[in-house]
């Protein structure tokens, strides 16, 4: 598989009241076309910083990003903005509460000038149906939908353009477990049907195990381990990865056995 996105030696330093804080420290990896790459880490690991750099919201302090073998410019043309799309954690705050969900999806079509007037209306209906919602939901406001339905709308909006890479930032963390399972299934189906590439950012390793092809583990701004998912769980090589996996609260004996095998002293810094 060819890399869709390549990240070379990217660092990002923020200025926190005159004191430089290094949020990312020389991070390099690539995202292969069609794969789901999970980025995991705890707060302060730099996982959101790298997402914002990929999306063009932040500029890296140093380093470079290549998308389809071309360097990503500081100011991105519309075509590139279309190609890389975002789904955020909390749809209640990422969807405009004053707008119907149809209008929110349609705004993406308007901005990128996709289709004509009549075509856009029909397209909104198709997009809603693609994420498993009835087309007539377009007229509803976000407040009238359940959490799972709202997240489906946010996914539909990310699919409205000619998207190739979806940055999913904790897309199911705010959802109940039954709803989470349905949304994860939907995301997997869409990726297959549309041949999309995902960067899936999360702190939930159990979700990662079931959705990602490869996993990149971040700790304090550094990429500490990147490996195919099955390998990473069978044989995590970095101690931080072992710590993360062994902290997952599990629900079955089989999982408990796997976890106990990887157990690292969790109370080391207590």
């Amino acid at each position: 598989m060819k890399p869709l996105l390549q990240v070379f030696e990217v660092s990002k330093t923020f200025d926190a009241g005159g004191k430089p804080v290094r949020a990312l420290d020389g991070v390099s990896f690539s995202v292969l076309a069609g794969e789901c790459l999970a980025i995991v880490g705890e707060s302060g690991s730099g996982k959101s910083t790298i997402a914002n750099i990929v999306l063009g919201i932040y500029q890296p302090t140093s380093g470079a990003l290549l998308f389809q073998d071309k360097e990503l410019p500081d100011v991105r043309p519309l075509a590139l903005k279309q190609a890389i799309q975002l789904v955020q954690q909390n749809p209640l705050s990422s969807l405009n509460p004053r707008r119907s969900v149809g209008a929110s999806i349609r705004l993406a079509l308007d901005v990128h000038d996709i289709g004509d007037r009549a075509g856009r209306k029909a397209r909104v209906g198709e997009l809603l149906e693609e994420v498993g919602l009835p087309a007539d939901f377009a007229g509803r406001s976000p407040a009238a939908l359940s959490g799972g339905q709202r997240q489906r709308v946010a996914i539909a909006r990310a699919l409205a353009c000619r998207s190739e890479l979806l940055v999913l930032d904790e897309p199911t963390s705010a959802l109940d477990v039954l709803v989470q399972a349905r949304v994860l299934k939907l995301l997997a189906d869409i990726r297959r049907a549309r041949r999309l590439t995902y960067i899936f950012i999360t702190h939930d390793l159990a979700v990662v195990r079931n959705i990602a092809d490869r996993v990149a583990v971040f700790e304090k701004g550094r990429l500490v381990e990147i490996a195919p998912t099955a390998d990473l769980f069978a044989n995590p090589s970095h101690p931080y990865t072992r710590r993360l996996i062994s902290a997952v609260p599990v629900t079955s004996r089989r999982e408990a056995e796997l976890r106990d095998r990887l157990q690292e002293p969790l109370d080391a810094d207590l």
């Binding site: 477990v177 039954l178 959705i211 997952v248 999982e255 796997l258």
Partner: protein, 296 residues
């Protein structure tokens, strides 16, 4: 036999609104024996948090709340208490830990001041020096290496994990008989969450505190609780000892929940039907674990 620390019978709750009464709890019964760790697990909106707030007497003060049923704390009928008596229990004999540790602590007072206030509930008239001494000991108990610094800090100067430990120390400071924990650690990173839960487990075991542990996270419940009640839309649907309930869930709703949890052994994402047949099926108790059998 001594009375259970907490006994709830046929608790019903509704909120009167513009469009009539919204029923939230449809007659739930549960109990917590002395020293027992009991989990109430369910999705958002199932009624688990409101149950804890009823026990604390917080919901009763809301206008529009209509409730019936019996709640007894160490054999005393909570419904028969005056407002003053109910308030006296809070923070002393019954305490609570909330989900987000940082927002549970008043940002304009130092931890030391807040801790003094907590100790005053259990020991009226306790002085600053003695309160500080006891606070230092309590913080040391939750593995805080530098209690002095923490006591002179404000909540926003400390990490989430540190604040969570402060809250645990405060909740246990007056040696309550019952600790209500509403999604403790949910807002924390996984490794920090694992540490604080282990710590809390050790502390309640040492103090012999009875505990109602409210969570939507099945994994956390499995590791923490002795016994589990599963709640769905205001009804208890299954109850049993933790191990039996996780190894062999009996109710269709519990089975669906267990099937939907992603597993680190990588069993894939299950197909969850939109059709929720059987979720309203009556309560299933594991053998020997119905309320009638456990509460003679």
């Amino acid at each position: 036999m001594t009375a259970p620390t907490l006994a709830i019978d046929d608790l019903r709750l509704g909120f009167r609104g513009w469009a009539g009464t919204v029923e939230v709890l449809h007659g739930i019964s549960l109990h917590i024996a002395k020293g027992e760790r009991v989990a109430l697990v369910g999705e958002s909106g199932s009624g688990k948090s409101v149950t804890a707030r009823l026990v604390l007497g917080l919901v009763q003060e809301l206008r529009g709340a209509r409730y019936s049923g019996r709640m007894a704390f160490e054999g005393r009928d909570l419904g028969a208490l005056s407002r003053r008596e109910r308030e006296a229990l809070r923070g002393d004999r019954i305490s609570m830990i909330f989900q987000d540790p940082t927002s549970s602590l008043n940002p304009v007072y130092t931890i030391g001041t807040l801790f003094h206030e907590v100790l005053l509930r259990g020991t009226p008239g306790i002085g600053t020096a003695e309160a500080r001494e006891r606070a230092v000991a309590a913080l040391a108990d939750v593995a805080i290496a530098d209690p002095g610094r923490v006591l002179s800090s404000y909540a926003f100067q400390l990490s989430g994990g540190m604040n969570q430990r402060v809250l645990i120390a405060m909740a246990l400071a007056n040696n309550p008989a019952l600790l209500l924990a509403d999604e403790p650690g949910t807002a924390l990173d996984v490794t920090v969450q694992a540490q604080t839960l282990t710590l809390m487990q050790q502390l309640v075991a040492r103090h012999g505190t009875s505990m109602l542990f409210i969570s939507h996270n099945l994994g956390v419940v499995r590791e923490f609780a002795d016994r589990v009640y599963v709640i769905y839309k205001g009804r208890i649907v299954e109850q049993g000892p933790t191990e039996a309930l996780f190894d062999n869930p009996l109710h269709p709703y519990t089975r669906a929940l267990m099937a939907a949890v992603p597993r680190i052994t990588g069993e894939g994402i299950p197909e969850i039907d939109e059709e929720q047949t059987g979720f309203y099926a009556p309560l299933v108790a594991h053998p020997g674990h119905s309320e009638a059998e456990l509460r003679p």
